[in-house]
Symmetry: C2
Subunit: 138 residues, 2 copies
Amino acid sequence: MGLRSFLHRLTAPKIGGMVEARPIKLALVINHSLGMKKGKIAAQVGHASVQTLLSAGSSTPKMVDAWLAQGQKKVCLKGVDEQHLTELQAKARQLKLHTSKTIDAGHTQIPKGSFTVLAIGPSYEDDIDAITGELPLL
Amino acid sequence: MGLRSFLHRLTAPKIGGMVEARPIKLALVINHSLGMKKGKIAAQVGHASVQTLLSAGSSTPKMVDAWLAQGQKKVCLKGVDEQHLTELQAKARQLKLHTSKTIDAGHTQIPKGSFTVLAIGPSYEDDIDAITGELPLL
């Protein structure tokens, strides 16, 4: 999605009230089974962060605004494999949390179409911890 | 900067022509001297990517649009230390390339105020390589 369509969606009428004064974060769950090196992981987290800003920026703009104002907290967590990430995404959606799935283009290191990072949020820290609280830090 | 000010700046009059059909990328130079672990590096690259989207999205929106349309290529490179990143930023600015400096809030691992990541771009790959072409991949 380009900036123009992002802009268009941002300027559409918004529904929803104020964001509460509670800590907000973005969780980034990495698919550990792919054996990505640290530079590859960092680039995938960069992709996931940009995707999140674009998609959550239109679906939950007040939450994104509040997250940016709080310093855009991010936490990188270790997920097992694609099935694990898919299960976490389903749970997050049940709780109406924003999610974004990053798929690798396959130019380097890993097969095209690999599910590299699941982003959950930005949303209230305790709501996200209900999904990811058991996962180890990367 | 929140989404509202981003929106305001995006809707300001733009100057400049079309973007050429050449590969575009974002370089992310990591301050290796800080000894950050991979999850910390990934989160800092996430911050740098978001900052870049917000700031370059207003200063060079056509370039950002084209970068997103090409798949938002990112490359993570190993920089030596804060002085090295500062020198690279000065060179990039001389070539009129967009840069963004990520400073850590110091909640974990490293001292508050550490210069963790220098983002250069998004811009044409060969222009960025003129600055970062000698640096090893992270």
